[in-house]
């Protein structure tokens, strides 16, 4: 999925945050000025201020899916709301496609949201008095698009999220999963460039959640949006993300690819999260392959470098010979030895990490 990010010609990130602070409380601004950039959450709390986001700086590139991961109260939703300006960041700079959104006036902001942003909410936040179709058409209608055209467009979105036939249902007549499909369709109706998802699947049953994640991956394959996705579910993050930002008490503890977070946790906190994670479900072939030796006798089969180990492990072990690894263009870029897979599957969790790191 992140191939597009790598091949992207533009250097300008879609979202760029520079030292963003979000502090709740009456005297947040003066406290922050005195703190001189070093914010101690405990000390702020004594003064009646709650630190939501503490010095967050990062970039998100065209077509990339960045997941913000953290437990409740870690500031992950707050950070996302700062970027969509539902919350006013206390300090810092936030650029969207190079434009500083914190200096935008209300009119510009509405324009930005009407044309470039879509957001999905944990509690779905559908309008109870409108049907599925009317809910999806809502962003188009507030934009001033004619009823006929917006309904036509909404109808296409209904088909996209597989709710065909339920256009005239009210939200209360739908299951949780179906409601969130409506939420997704609504957020996509204006064809946004940037897609915000705030714990979109947390309120759903595990089975439905899995189904919706698959659906989400399918949509992302088709649409290739730039995505900011908030979740408290580490498995979900590993499954979906190009990169993950792990937050704790408003601070981004680590921002990296899923493989790197599992293999090289930057802090003790991150390490605790990754301890129990089965590597074969996270790591891609790329991170365990050896350099390709043309003289070596290899198997007939080929594996993609971006494939997850678990999905090919059985075939590789049965091949009996090293298996060549190819990139998306079909070029051989390395070879995979059964011993390495065995090591990942059954080896200890703490040793040899440098060896397997890509």
């Amino acid at each position: 999925m992140n191939t597009e990010a790598e091949t992207s010609t533009s250097d300008e990130p879609v979202i760029r945050c520079e030292s963003v602070y979000m502090i709740f409380g009456d005297n947040a601004h003066s406290m922050l000025q005195q703190a001189n950039g070093v914010v101690d959450a405990a000390r702020f709390q004594e003064a009646g201020c709650i630190v939501g986001v503490n010095n967050a700086s990062f970039e998100v590139y065209q077509g990339e899916l960045l997941i913000i991961m953290g437990l409740s109260g870690s500031g992950k939703s707050t950070l996302m709301r700062c970027i969509s300006r539902l919350n006013e960041a206390t300090a810092g700079k936030i650029y969207i496609e190079g434009e500083d959104i914190l200096t935008m006036d209300n009119k510009q902001l509405i324009e930005l949201r009407r044309n470039k942003m879509g957001m999905v909410f944990q509690s779905f936040a559908l309008l109870p008095h409108k049907t599925v179709l009317e809910n999806i058409a809502f962003p188009l209608q507030v934009k001033g698009i004619s009823t006929q055209e917006s309904m036509q467009r909404a109808k296409e979105m209904v088909d996209l999220v597989s709710l065909t036939g339920r256009e005239n249902y009210f939200p209360r007549q739908l299951s949780g999963g179906q409601q969130q499909r409506v939420g997704i369709a609504r957020s996509l109706a204006i064809e946004p460039d940037i897609w915000f998802l705030d714990e979109p699947f947390s309120a759903l049953d595990p089975l439905i959640r899995k189904e919706m994640q698959d659906e989400f991956l399918r949509l992302q394959d088709v649409l290739g949006k730039t995505i900011l996705f908030v979740t408290h579910d580490f498995d979900e993050a590993l499954r979906l993300a190009d990169r993950i930002a792990i937050m704790k008490d408003g601070v981004i503890e680590q921002l990296d690819t899923p493989a790197n977070i599992v293999l090289n946790p930057a802090t003790e906190y991150v390490r605790k999260f990754t301890e129990e994670v089965p590597r074969e479900k996270v790591l891609k072939i790329k991170s365990v392959m050896d350099p390709y030796d043309p003289n070596e006798e290899v198997s007939e089969m080929r594996v993609q470098q971006d494939a997850i180990i678990e999905t090919v492990a059985e075939a590789v072990l049965n091949a009996g010979k090293p298996v060549p690894v190819v990139d998306s263009a079909g070029e051989i870029v390395g070879a995979l030895h059964a011993s390495h897979i065995v090591h990942v599957l059954f080896g200890g969790h703490s040793d040899n990490e440098t060896e397997t790191a890509s």
């Binding site: 709301r81 509405i110 909410f121 509690s123 936040a125 309008l127 008095h129 507030v142």
Partner: protein, 687 residues
């Protein structure tokens, strides 16, 4: 000892009671003793209010106004000009709707002048034939909901027409069709404003509290002073009465919204107005619609009281019927009021739930089918009315407008039934009534009047303190102090005696009845329907049977009327409270081996208590308003004085001050009950 007292609330209550009794026993009742009665220090307040009103109305902020009659600028007070134009505007709107329904000349006069209208006799606005109105209502009902609502709406108008109440009903309808939308709009605006702005909410809250408990009689005089007598004054009094619940429910509904809904609106690119009108208000519509429903009910409950200050229509005729003791006729008119109330309520609900089909490919005729059908009904109705003018020669065209009292009437039949009941039971009942008054009511009343003021304060503030701490104690004391410093403390004690006695009886009956009905779903449904219906009756109606059976000018009939009226909320809240107990708790109880009675006493009752306490609170409010209305059949409490203030030229100050006294009794009780209910809610984890 001290520790035990600190922990056990019932010991505190016992101690309080002992102190109270001691105070009652040892304070001597004499004129100058401040422990017995406080001096009326704010006796001058009503006069002050009168002077201020006069000043505001006649001397404050003079402006130059062009007077076309003398063709000169004249100095006139701003407030007077403002109220006069407001009256004019509202009166114009009411008369306009009225003339669409009943025909007339006033609208034409407004745009031309009397001279022109007298010269041109053809320029009269014709009434809509009643067949057209009934047909139109049925079509509207069908378009909004379906055949059942269509039948009900049509039936309402046909009933009204054939029972000869067409003209007063249309007068009432035109009045409600103006007053209700004004209340709804005003309530929405104030509610949204308070939702947006904390300061506004803080200012608005106490005002709403007072206005909801203040008896409607007490602001009739101020309304008359500012807006003079007539339909517009009735409408304004109605708006004052009907708006507070609308504001309340708007704030409540908006506050309940999850912040994500507002965020979803913002992220969809809404600007401020779009967010408010398309997202927030529609999403909070459940509570807002309850508010609309309340407004409609309040408007119809006010028609009788509004008629006291000149509103025309059913209320006026109901008042006359009551004065003449024509119970049969009063019942007929009452049915009309109730039918109009329910019909308007259903139509407004259906309108809010209307759904649109976007993909139906409709032809012009299909898209405008209801307008076309109405057009047809209109033409047919007019033709029928025209034919009618040849058929009915005696001057009444029954196909055009059925004149008042020329319809069918069941009055004689109803009256016969009523007479039979009175004949059969009057002597038994008057014996009972006499016994009740002599043996129970008079002694209780004397006991209330025999309380020294210091004992009353100790008891009330003590209860407040034990329940809610110093803050609540001081609130209660403050409310009582106001009353004690007026010259009406003894009257207030009588009001309190009628109210507390009735509330005790109502609460007991309500809890017993509610508990029994909550045992079976069918009984629950029937009971809730009965409660709904009873609440649409104007409170006035309850005086009819009480008066009929127990006679005028005695406390028994007043107490009976209050009890019947105030039992409704007690019953309703008991049922709702019991039903809200989660079924898991029932199961947990059953698995612990409780029997039915144990389960009721140890699980359901405590869990339902907070909700029931709110019911008791409502019971107090209902009882207070009925005590005041009871003045119409003769009491000697605050209500009687308010009634007197109505016919007094300088009654503004008296009326308002007395109204405040009544409101403060209610607020003191409200403080205590609400605090208690909230504490229980928190303790049970329901908040």
């Amino acid at each position: 000892m001290i520790d035990a007292l600190r922990q056990k609330k019932y010991l505190q209550f016992v101690l309080l009671l002992i102190v109270f009794i001691l105070l009652c026993a040892f304070v001597t009742p004499s004129e100058g003793n401040w422990f017995w009665r406080l001096p009326p220090l704010i006796k001058e307040l009503p006069l002050l209010i009168n002077d201020s009103v006069n000043y505001i109305l006649y001397d404050w902020w003079l402006i130059d106004v062009w007077d076309p009659d003398i063709e000169e600028y004249e100095e006139k007070p701003l407030m007077n000009q403002f109220t006069r134009s407001a009256s004019g505007l509202i009166l114009f709107m009411i008369e306009f709707v009225r003339e669409v329904l009943l025909g007339g000349v006033n609208t034409i006069v407004t745009f031309t002048g009397w001279d022109w209208a007298t010269e041109n006799e053809w320029a009269r606005w014709p009434a809509l034939p009643w067949t057209v109105v009934a047909g139109g209502a049925a079509i509207l009902g069908y378009a909004l909901k379906g055949p059942r609502l269509a039948m009900f709406a049509g039936f309402t108008f046909v009933y009204i027409a054939i029972f000869g109440q067409w003209e007063p009903s249309m007068e009432t309808l035109s009045f409600v069709l103006i007053a209700a939308p004004i209340s709804v709009l005003l309530g929405l605006v104030l509610g949204v404003w308070a939702f947006r702005n904390k300061t506004v909410e803080m200012v608005l809250n106490p005002i709403l509290n007072v206005m909801q408990i203040m008896p409607h009689f007490s602001y009739l005089v101020p309304v008359v002073v500012f807006f003079s007598i007539g339909d517009q004054a009735g409408a304004i009094a109605t708006v004052i009465y009907a708006t507070p619940p609308m504001v309340r429910l708007t704030i409540l509904g908006l506050k309940k919204l999850s912040p994500e809904v507002a965020e979803a609106g913002l992220m969809s690119g809404c600007n401020g107005w779009q967010l408010l009108l398309k997202v927030l208000i529609p999403t909070a519509r459940r509570d807002i619609l309850i508010g609309v429903n309340q407004v409609i009910m309040s408007c119809l409950a006010m028609v009788v009281i509004a008629s006291l200050i000149g509103a025309k229509g059913l209320g006026h005729h109901l008042l006359i019927a009551l004065n003449q003791l024509r119970v049969g006729q009063a019942i007929e008119i009452g049915v009309c009021i109730v039918l109009i109330a329910i019909m308007l309520d259903r139509l407004s609900l259906a309108w809010a739930d209307k759904q649109v089909d976007y993909f139906a490919d409709l032809s012009f005729v299909q898209r405008h089918k209801y307008s076309i059908i109405f057009g047809a009904v209109f033409v047919v109705g007019v033709i029928l009315a025209w034919i009618g003018s040849f058929v009915f020669k005696e001057g009444f065209n029954y196909l055009y407008l059925i004149p008042h009292k020329k319809g069918i009437t069941t009055e004689n039949f109803l009256q016969a039934g009523v007479d039979w009941i009175v004949d059969a039971f009057f002597f038994t009942l008057s014996g009972f009534s006499k016994w009740l008054i002599v043996e129970i009511l008079v002694p209780i009343k004397n006991a209330y009047l025999g309380m020294p003021v210091v004992a009353t304060f100790t008891l009330a503030m003590g209860i407040g303190y034990i329940v809610g701490g110093v803050r609540v104690g001081l609130y209660v004391g403050g409310f009582l102090l106001f009353i004690a410093l007026t010259e009406w403390w003894d009257r207030a004690l009588i009001t309190a005696y009628l109210m507390t006695l009735a509330v005790l009886i109502s609460t007991f009956i309500g809890i017993v009845m509610g508990t029994l009905c909550a045992q079976h779903p069918l009984a629950t449904r029937i009971m809730l329907t009965i409660c709904d219906t009873l609440q649409t009756f104007p409170s006035f109606i309850y005086l009819i049977p009480a008066m009929m059976l127990f006679g005028v000018a005695n406390d028994t009939s007043v107490i009976i009327a209050i009890v019947v009226y105030a039992t409704v909320p007690a019953t309703r809240y008991t049922i709702q409270g019991l039903l809200s107990v989660p079924p898991q708790l029932h199961e947990a109880g059953s698995m612990s081996g409780v029997n039915r009675i144990q389960r009721y006493l140890s699980i359901e009752l405590p869990m339902a208590f907070p909700h029931m306490a709110l019911g008791i609170n409502q019971t107090v409010v209902f009882a207070l308003s009925m005590v005041i209305i009871g003045a119409l059949i003769g009491t000697d409490d605050l209500g009687q004085l308010i009634l007197k203030a109505l016919s007094d030229k300088e009654g503004v100050g008296n009326g308002l001050t007395l109204g405040l006294c009544v409101a403060f009794i209610g607020l003191a009780i409200d403080q205590v009950l609400r605090t208690w209910a909230n504490q229980r809610k928190q303790a049970l984890g329901l908040a």
